[in-house]
């Protein structure tokens, strides 16, 4: 019985990891252009790093890494502040029209992002941050999903904690800083993962905002050699480039795996 379920898990794990395995194998395959066995999962011997060299030369990856890191960190930093405060306001403060405002806020989740490209681009241009990393970050500084998540988390924390802190003379900001946020840590971490992954991988919006090569993010750098229309794909190089782009995320996930899984379980996001 145990062996059977272990076997089933093994099969599922293999299915799930097949694309990743293929990427690793293909990226190490020498001379993959038009190769017959490019679809194979069996590694070629001896492996070659030629694809990585070509991919690395195809884009300025160090600069792209720096830009993506700035976008991801800058977006998340502001988001954590705005969603905590907004979540608190919707969970605890009483003001007229609170629920209406909250539902209006949630409506944002229903709008498909491409619809907002032109209006957002106009705003970004008017603010003078077109073709800057600020322009890439700005539209995400308020997050409906994050606000919703924090509101629900705060609602789940008993008021007694806040009352006790208030009796001890805490101000509102102190209550938030020393009582509520530490208790909401799993939700904050879960939101951080969702935010980092989605902005790390985002392509369309940076493509719209960025013109200068010096402001390109990783996805734009990768696109310079994977988009194929009339021509054809160098699979090995694409695999190597994708690996270069996604490696830090993989490394981060493996390093903090346990914490991440705990956060998702505790915050109820799946």
């Amino acid at each position: 019985m145990a062996a059977a379920s272990a076997g089933a898990i093994g099969v599922i794990a293999l299915l799930w990891s097949a694309p990743f395995l293929w990427m690793v194998v293909a990226s190490l395959r020498p001379d993959s252009t038009g190769s017959l066995d490019i679809a194979s999962l069996i590694p070629a011997w001896p492996p070659s790093l030629a694809n990585f060299r070509l991919a690395w030369e195809s884009a300025d990856f160090l600069l792209n890494y720096a830009n993506t890191l700035m976008v991801v960190a800058g977006t998340l930093a502001v988001q954590l502040v705005t969603i905590s405060l907004a979540g608190y306001a919707f969970a605890r403060l009483r003001f007229p029209g609170r629920d209406l405002v909250f539902y209006l806020f949630l409506l944002q989740l229903m709008i498909v992002p491409p619809v907002l490209i032109v209006p957002n681009l106009k705003t970004v241009t008017r603010l003078g941050i077109y073709d800057t990393l600020w322009g890439v970050m700005a539209p995400y500084w308020a997050s409906a999903f994050g606000t919703f998540l924090m509101r629900q988390t705060f609602l789940g924390i008993p008021r007694d904690f806040e009352d006790a802190a208030e009796i001890d003379g805490c101000s509102l900001i102190q209550i938030l800083r020393y009582v509520l946020l530490p208790l909401a840590k799993p939700a904050l971490i879960a939101f951080a993962i969702v935010s980092v992954v989605s902005h790390w991988n985002e392509f369309l919006w940076p493509l719209m905002v960025i013109d200068s090569p010096s402001h390109r993010t990783l996805t734009l750098g990768l696109a310079s050699f994977v988009s194929s229309g009339e021509g054809d794909a160098e699979w090995g190089v694409i695999a190597a480039g994708t690996l270069i782009v996604s490696l830090p995320l993989f490394a981060g996930f493996i390093a903090f795996q346990r914490q991440f899984i705990n956060s998702f379980v505790m915050s109820g996001i799946k």
Binding site: T33, V118, L121, L204, D211, S224, E234, V237
Partner: protein, 439 residues
């Protein structure tokens, strides 16, 4: 957090000051799609750098902008946001839309300002390219990289099936016949397909147009951007041919195949004949480890194919200095030398006839005679589908042909539905030109 934002500010500040230092030159933006793999993006960057190094007063910032469709989206969004690029390399059949919306400069005006002659300017370009470069008797785009569909043939398979590779199929009947002989079956399973072609968006519309034209028809009204001829016998026949290749003769795989799959199958010997762009020629030349040959698109009634590829367009609402700079850049990019070198690098044919008179081009063609097939086919080439809201109009037929390739629809119904949907998409334009009262 604070130290992080300080680093970010410092970084941005450094970048800003770098741009200010370089602004003694007039800076212009140039958007280009990357329709092929990375090597091309590197070559394009090299060409732009060469121009910037040689130019004392113009600095071109080249931004690659994804696929042809992404480039159109990005350009349109940038125009609406008030940040138009100076120059874009745009899919040749999207030009018409920018003419309708009045966002691009007539090349005629730029020529007149710079001592050129609009009447003779296009004479050096292949006649087939002129249709997609002009609108209402004015030039709006300068062809840069162009293509036609070609049939790539595995010579070994041809000989093995008793076919003569020096006489590739010239008609639809010969195509079907050859494909039947080339297809290998193992019981019900097909181990090698006689013919394959991409069925993905953009490619499928182009190839359907090629078959419609070689069936004697026209795909769209070349002079009025509000009319397409999908529900016509010629288009119906083309779609029927695709249906029969898959379901009657079983020589082409069922369903929608993307271009990478088609070339991979060709390389792997799983497809004996494939229909792809001339833009794939360099890739096939480098990737095929066996003898291959290239042939015209077979005809049913006549030899005819649409052109493909991209052209340079110049945008309005840039400063007068940028306008001058844009013209200098476009002139450099479309010189016979630049176009020839780009053509040798990519496999696209050079739009200027004089490119082929250059010594380096003559040497190249002598070494790779297959590079000339696309050029010879140009004698039979005509403009590419170009209408109001062209992507949606193209998808209207592509969705239907995909349904046919997947066995969900018959050709009759498919072309009828395609026409109905396309007419709906074209209605705003047609209502505007049909009701002209109120002058």
């Amino acid at each position: 957090m604070t130290s992080l934002s300080r680093i970010m500010l410092a970084g941005l500040g450094a970048l800003l000051s770098a741009t200010v230092a370089a602004s003694a030159k007039t800076t212009i933006d140039f958007y280009f799609p990357v329709p092929v793999q990375g090597a091309l993006a590197r070559e394009m960057t090299r060409m732009v750098k060469e121009f910037n190094d040689a130019s004392s007063d113009v600095e071109v910032v080249a931004a690659y902008t994804g696929s042809y469709d992404d480039t159109r989206l990005k350009t349109q969004a940038a125009v609406e946001a008030g940040k138009p690029p100076a120059v874009t390399l745009m899919s040749a059949n999207f030009v018409q839309e920018f003419v309708i919306s009045g966002e691009i400069e007539a090349i005629d005006d730029l020529l007149a300002e710079n001592g050129g002659d609009p009447k003779t300017f296009l004479d050096d370009f292949w006649p087939a390219l002129r249709g997609n470069a002009t609108a209402n008797s004015k030039i709006y785009a300068i062809p840069f990289q162009n293509s036609t569909p070609l049939v790539y043939i595995n010579v070994g398979h041809f000989k093995e099936a008793g076919l003569d590779p020096t006489k590739p199929p010239a008609t639809w009947a010969e195509l079907v016949d050859a494909a039947k002989k080339l297809t290998k079956r193992d019981g019900d399973k097909i181990t090698r397909y006689g013919f394959e072609m991409p069925g993905s968006y953009d490619y499928l519309g182009w190839l359907t147009q090629a078959f419609t034209m070689s069936n004697g028809g026209q795909f769209f009204n070349v002079t009025s951007p509000g009319e397409v001829y999908y529900d016509q016998p010629s288009t119906r026949g083309a779609v029927q041919l695709l249906h029969d290749l898959v379901f009657t003769h079983k020589v082409m795989p069922e369903g929608v195949i993307d271009p990478n799959q088609v070339s991979s199958d060709f390389f792997a010997g799983k497809a004996s004949m494939v229909m792809l762009s001339t833009g794939s020629l360099s890739f096939i030349r480098n990737g095929a480890k066996f003898p291959y040959t290239v042939a015209f698109v077979p005809r049913n009634v006549r030899n005819a194919v649409p052109i493909g590829g991209g052209s340079l367009i110049v945008f309005k609402s840039i400063t007068p200095e940028q306008r001058k700079a844009a013209w200098k850049f476009v002139t450099y990019m479309t010189s016979a030398e630049s176009l020839g070198s780009w053509s040798r690098f990519t496999g696209y044919f050079a739009p200027r006839r004089s490119s082929y008179d250059l010594p380096e081009m003559k040497a190249f063609v002598a070494e790779h005679p297959d590079a000339l097939i696309a050029v010879q086919q140009l004698a039979y080439a005509q403009p590419w589908l170009s209408t109001y809201n062209v992507v949606a109009v193209r998808k209207a037929i592509e969705d239907q042909v995909q349904a046919v390739l997947s066995g969900k629809k018959q050709a009759d119904e498919a072309v009828r539905d395609a026409q109905k949907n396309a007419d709906e998409i074209l209605r705003p334009y047609n209502e505007k030109i049909a009701h002209v009262s109120g002058f």
